[in-house]
Symmetry: C2
Subunit: 414 residues, 2 copies
């Protein structure tokens, strides 16, 4: 007898047939004696359709009104799932974000949850009802509808689990867990039974799109036991995200390999090596609303140094122009170079903390494949390298093997 919060994404509730499947799973958990709160997203495609409609009326939609419009997507799903449950003889009741009073700030389209009044849900749970809540949305103190931004339904699920002190928050998605790396690139990739929150944060921010990073942060903050599972099969228990900070003996050094090719690299060569130079380069970039990811500055030689950073590939040309036209003349650099055919590959694992030699094995592996490393950046549980994008798959496969991640169990995808 546990209290479980389950969250189902858009593909899991894409049509009446799939909504029925979700209802069947909820029914199975309920038959085991569990209390259930179910969070759902809009049916897949619905949110995009609504945004398109909005843009036809107002090219840059008013944020308050866009939230009123877009929040109808989840509202439709909660009603349909409740109907499916009631049809199966299971008492259920739906609530919008406003009804269950998910109080947020007033930052429309990207609101933050402030508090949740769990009283109404508890009353329903006590009465034996399944509570179905619209993900992604909330309400301000003034009663205005807000949305939490893309992926906000995960955050709703975790926040409800935190507010209710749920035993577990289960995120159902179209993959059956977190993998050592993307199985489309490395067929040998293995599903992880567990992963730590810190690793998950690094994996998520590095491009493993299983869980919304905000929801992982939220879960970490409120110590919510989070599990990622497939909504299309029940073969395994997915991946549990743990607070285990001390890896056991069996724990591999590396948990997974993340990668992305969304970035571009920019360098200023021959920059005068004097205090404040990093600020004088990056301040104009920030002013231009360009987010910088990796930043590398090597020690200066003969009074000059080289300065490199990466930005999202969409911002490449804009940043390159800025460097050439403004920053280079201002800071007296010799030359500007750019490359938007790079990728970033990262090893992630808390085991790294207690194991030396991870970096050297990584560099050796890439060297043996003839892959040149262009930039390196490290954190306590992550090593990232920037390489030519054409080597991405090769690098990921080689590293996956070198770090013993290739497993016997073949990955399953829904």
């Amino acid at each position: 007898m546990a209290l479980i919060v389950q969250k189902y994404g858009g593909t899991s509730v894409a049509n009446p047939e799939r909504i029925r499947k979700v209802a069947e799973r909820v029914a199975r958990f309920r038959a085991q004696g569990h209390d259930l709160v179910v969070v759902v997203s809009a049916m897949s495609g619905e949110t995009d359709k609504l945004i398109k409609l909005a843009r036809e009326v107002q090219p840059v939609p008013d944020p308050r009104e866009l939230d009123v419009l877009v929040s109808t997507g989840e509202q439709a799903t909660i009603a349909l799932l409740s109907m499916a449950l009631i049809q199966m003889g299971i008492p259920a009741r739906s609530y919008t974000g406003a009804q269950v009073r998910i109080l947020t700030d007033g930052a429309h389209t990207k609101a933050r949850i402030l508090s949740i009044d769990e009283q109404r849900m508890r009353t329903d749970l006590s009465a034996g009802r399944v509570v179905v809540v619209a993900g992604f949305q909330g309400v301000t103190e003034q009663g205005d509808i807000t949305t939490l931004g893309r992926g906000g339904s995960d955050t709703t699920g975790v926040a409800l689990a935190a507010a209710l002190g749920a035993d577990e928050c289960q995120i159902y998605t179209d993959v059956d867990g977190v993998y050592t790396t993307d199985p489309r690139i490395v067929p040998e990739a293995r599903r992880l039974d567990t992963i730590t929150f810190e690793e998950m944060l690094e994996m998520a921010s590095l491009g493993s799109k299983v869980l919304q990073i905000r929801s992982v942060e939220f879960a970490g903050k409120y110590k919510v036991k989070l599990r990622v599972l497939s909504s299309f099969e029940d073969k395994n228990d997915g991946t549990l995200i743990t607070f285990e900070d001390n890896p056991s003996m069996e724990q591999p050094i590396i948990s997974g390999i993340a990668f992305n090719r969304d970035e571009a690299k920019l360098s200023l060569l021959g920059v005068p090596d004097r205090p404040g130079i990093a600020f004088s380069i990056l301040d104009p970039v920030g002013q231009a609303h360009v987010d910088v990811d990796m930043i590398i500055q090597n020690i200066g030689v003969d009074g000059s140094t080289d300065f490199s950073f990466t930005v999202h590939r969409n911002e490449y040309q804009k940043t390159l122009d800025l460097l050439n036209n403004t920053i280079k003349p201002q800071c007296g650099a010799r030359e500007v170079r750019g490359d938007n055919h790079i990728c970033k590959v990262s090893l992630v694992g808390v085991g790294m903390r207690s194991h030396a030699g991870v970096a050297s094995l990584m560099f050796k592996t890439l060297f043996e494949e003839g892959i040149n490393i262009q930039m390196i950046s490290t954190s306590e549980i992550k090593i990232s390298v920037v390489i030519d994008e054409k080597y991405m798959e090769l690098a990921v496969r080689a590293l996956h093997k070198a770090f013993g991640l290739d497993g016997a169990t073949s990955p399953t995808k829904g």
Copy 2:
């Protein structure tokens, strides 16, 4: 400088282009210095689409959840219209039924409005904003979403006008007013500049589907000045529904001719003429949830009488079976007859009160066309006859001419 409530139906907001047209009209009224509250329905087709979706999940959808689902239709429209207004530089704010607190009872899918908290709207109006409110929906004391039933958006408009003490409630629809009869049947039909509430009630309930009857009753009760206009053209001021009870000299005797072929006629012949016989016939009909419209019982001759009534055509077979199998044996009637190829034609007009001879002119006109009258029923401002449905158009045209309703102005339809 007046406070005007405008209501736009589904066809008026069917797509972004039409929503923009509505915004343009609102802008014109606002430019004249008026304060505006705008009520909108779901985009046409949307409500039916949602109900279809619900039925795929639950053949008989749970009423509470159906309201949660269906209310998303109007919620989408209020957001889109507000966006269109804001895009034109007009400050606007949308509200769902729950947000503006249209408090209803808990009768899901056919709730009744109990009260409206107009404070929030007044604040917006004072700040120069156009207030856009979702029609058709409300909220219970417990915070559950309700809907008012089909045509409920008209009722929302009138109720808001009553709560705010608005100077006028304008119902925009796809016709430009109330006509003396249906222009599709009688091309000479004229638009009425004014019509009384009582006449409008008779016209509406008799099948002139311009205004939802509930909204007319509501307007009558709260003395709301109601006007029906076209949302597709601005050629005239539509039809004003007045409280004028004493027709002026110019007022024609008859305001309009209503008709419908939705009914079927049933008769019990040779019923013993004793007290309680009407009850013994109609009580089983009511128990079977069949609504009865006209009821005719003539004086008894030789201890027996004939009893006739009309029901909706959909209920014809069910009622016929009931009469044959249950009621006839119980009340000892001689014979049951039924006819589902009838129609009802009604003359409506407050002028009738002070003019004798309306009935005789009606009967004479029908006689001259060779049309047999099967049933007659009268009220203070209405005479209805049941005739063979094949004569319907002929009867309506002949009566329209005979009562001087044919006009010079040709009807315009949007």
